[in-house]
């Protein structure tokens, strides 16, 4: 895991260098690039470890999630959200849920995010508008909720203990295939599935009615 730790540190160093030397645009890139190449030369074996890739995808997911919130330009935020959804698809793939990974890309990255891009393009938001931080009560509520969620995550992870999180042998044969998912959805949970679809149709009809107040 030396390679992953090293690369994560390098990303942080890169960000710091960009802040310290705003004038020299290529210097941080060159320094960090050379350091990364040295790291790769010393620990090439890590590249064949599943844990390295899981950690790397996780790091990119966290980084992109942070940038979604922090980037001033709404369009760039949307792009980082797409990157984040991609990382989640990769997680599904690493957990052998191939169909979920494909559906994640089709539904979220492919369809829903296109609408986001569409809306941002139509509204033609300027850069500053993404950076409005809530004031007063909203900000404190956000901090409190965030702390609560962080505490919850912490206790959940502590409770599980340190276990190998990726064991390919742990899955049954045929796990995560289209057939398996279809069996689960349309046999075991068919009522819940149909109820959810009725709910979605109701929401869609409601949205159309709200948008068209004056129907003939």
């Amino acid at each position: 895991m030396h390679l992953l730790t090293g690369l994560v540190i390098l990303v942080i160093v890169y960000a710091l260098l960009r802040v310290i030397f705003p004038g020299r645009r290529y210097l941080p890139g060159v320094i960090v690039g050379i350091a990364a190449a040295t790291l790769l030369a010393f620990f090439p074996r890590d590249l064949f470890e599943m844990q390295f890739w899981a950690g790397a995808v996780g790091f990119v997911a966290i980084l992109s999630a942070l940038l979604v919130v922090m980037h001033p330009n709404p369009m760039v935020s949307v792009l980082f959200l797409i990157l984040n959804l991609f990382c989640i698809a990769l997680f599904f793939l690493m957990l052998q849920a191939q169909i979920l990974a494909a559906l994640q890309v089709i539904v979220y990255a492919g369809a829903i995010m296109v609408l986001f891009v569409f809306v941002v393009m139509l509204l033609n938001l300027r850069s500053e508008e993404g950076l409005r931080v809530g004031r007063g009560f909203g900000r404190w509520a956000a901090i409190a909720l965030g702390a609560l969620f962080a505490g919850m995550m912490f206790t959940a992870i502590r409770g599980r203990g340190v276990r190998p999180f990726f064991r390919p042998g742990a899955f049954l044969d045929g796990f995560g295939t289209a057939r398996d998912l279809g069996d689960t959805l349309f046999r075991d949970y068919v009522f819940a599935f149909e109820a959810a679809s009725v709910l979605l149709v109701a929401a869609m009809v409601g949205a159309v009615l709200l948008a068209k107040r004056r129907l003939q």
């Binding site: 990255a109 296109v114 891009v117 393009m121």
Partner: protein, 345 residues
């Protein structure tokens, strides 16, 4: 590192290099074929000066594009503007990786499937990556900071979303008949039970219409309608980056044709080949050749339609997609389900 993994990686790398080489060559010669066929349709000569029959024209075009300046207009969003051609180019190239172009052959003591990877959700992978191409177009239009580009990008986003649905629903018919999302299984099923196009002709027509729209080809090339939008989303691009848009368009065409052949025309299989009793290697070569021939025929239809049918108006495009193709695809699914359940398939 596991020593067993090395031959697997080498095999994958060799297949990737060969497939992308063939794909890029096809893309280059599609540009020539398009111009020659259009000239033939319009009773002209077309490019015939560079090399015999103009066969070196793609090389000349490529070199010319390489030497053109890549202009970076002021007031563009630099990063996204430079990234957009890559965003549209990569999905166009990746999609071909799950299409089988030949049977499994035995080479150097290994069974090698003539397909880069046969994933369990092959059809979904294709739909996923083809739906990502829209970002390249939309972002190119937005980041160019030009109203024609923006209009082209918006149109394209709306068009691609509208036609993804009929495309996916048309494919559902094939999947129901096969009972698998794996493209290898789709081909094997057709080898055993006859080509899908024979009894799913409506599904095929819906698929092809939607595929024309998804690849932004005439009669659905509204995102770059030159009479209204100059050149649409790539108005501001020049040199190598403009070329990437072009290559992505043709690569999408090749992939869509390969997919149409795989889903509806039996993929690489040749009817009656087993009766000839050819040795394995010759049969495999013949089947791969047959696959390429079939793809070439579909590509010819692409060019043919372009120079025959005029462009749709935007409202006609939306009406066709939502009010005709989508209901038709749903009815088609019902019909295929009926046949499959009745056991006639």
């Amino acid at each position: 590192m596991d020593p067993e993994i090395v031959p697997v990686l080498v095999e994958a790398a060799v297949k990737i290099v060969i497939v992308f080489g063939v794909l890029l060559t096809t893309v280059a010669y599609m540009t020539l074929a398009e111009r020659r066929v259009s000239a033939w349709i319009q009773d002209r000569r077309g490019p015939n000066r560079v090399g015999p029959f103009g066969l070196l024209q793609p090389a000349a075009d490529g070199i010319k594009f390489l030497f053109k300046e890549t202009i970076l207009p002021p007031h563009v969003h630099k990063v996204i503007y430079l990234l957009a051609p890559a965003i549209i180019f990569i999905p166009a190239m990746v999609t071909i990786s799950v299409v089988p172009f030949g049977p499994t052959i035995r080479l150097f003591g290994r069974d090698i499937a003539l397909q880069i990877t046969d994933v369990d959700v092959g059809v979904l992978v294709i739909l996923a990556f083809s739906s990502l191409g829209v970002y390249g177009v939309a972002l190119a239009g937005w980041s160019s900071n030009n109203k024609y580009s923006l209009m082209g990008g918006l149109r394209s986003a709306a068009q691609l979303i509208s036609y993804e649905l009929p495309l996916g629903l048309a494919v559902v018919g094939v999947l129901m008949a096969t009972g698998s999302l794996r493209l290898g299984d789709v081909v094997a099923h057709q080898a055993a039970h006859g080509w899908n196009v024979l009894w799913q002709l409506p599904g095929f027509l819906i698929f092809m219409t939607a595929a024309f729209a998804e690849t932004n080809r005439l009669p659905f090339d509204l995102p770059e309608a030159e009479t209204e939008l100059v050149a649409g989303y790539h108005t501001e691009y020049s040199g190598m980056r403009f070329l990437m848009f072009y290559m992505a368009e043709y690569a999408n065409m090749v992939t869509a044709s390969a997919l149409a052949v795989t889903l509806y025309f039996g993929g690489y299989n040749v009817p009656g080949l087993a009766r000839l009793g050819l040795p394995g290697a010759a049969a495999a070569a013949l089947q791969t050749g047959a696959f390429m021939l079939k793809v070439a025929c579909v590509l010819f239809v692409y060019v043919w339609v372009r120079w025959t049918v005029p462009r749709f108006r935007y409202d006609q495009l939306m009406n066709l997609g939502w009010k005709f193709l989508l209901p038709a695809a749903l009815v088609h699914i019902g019909w295929v389900a009926f046949i499959v359940l009745a056991g006639w398939a």
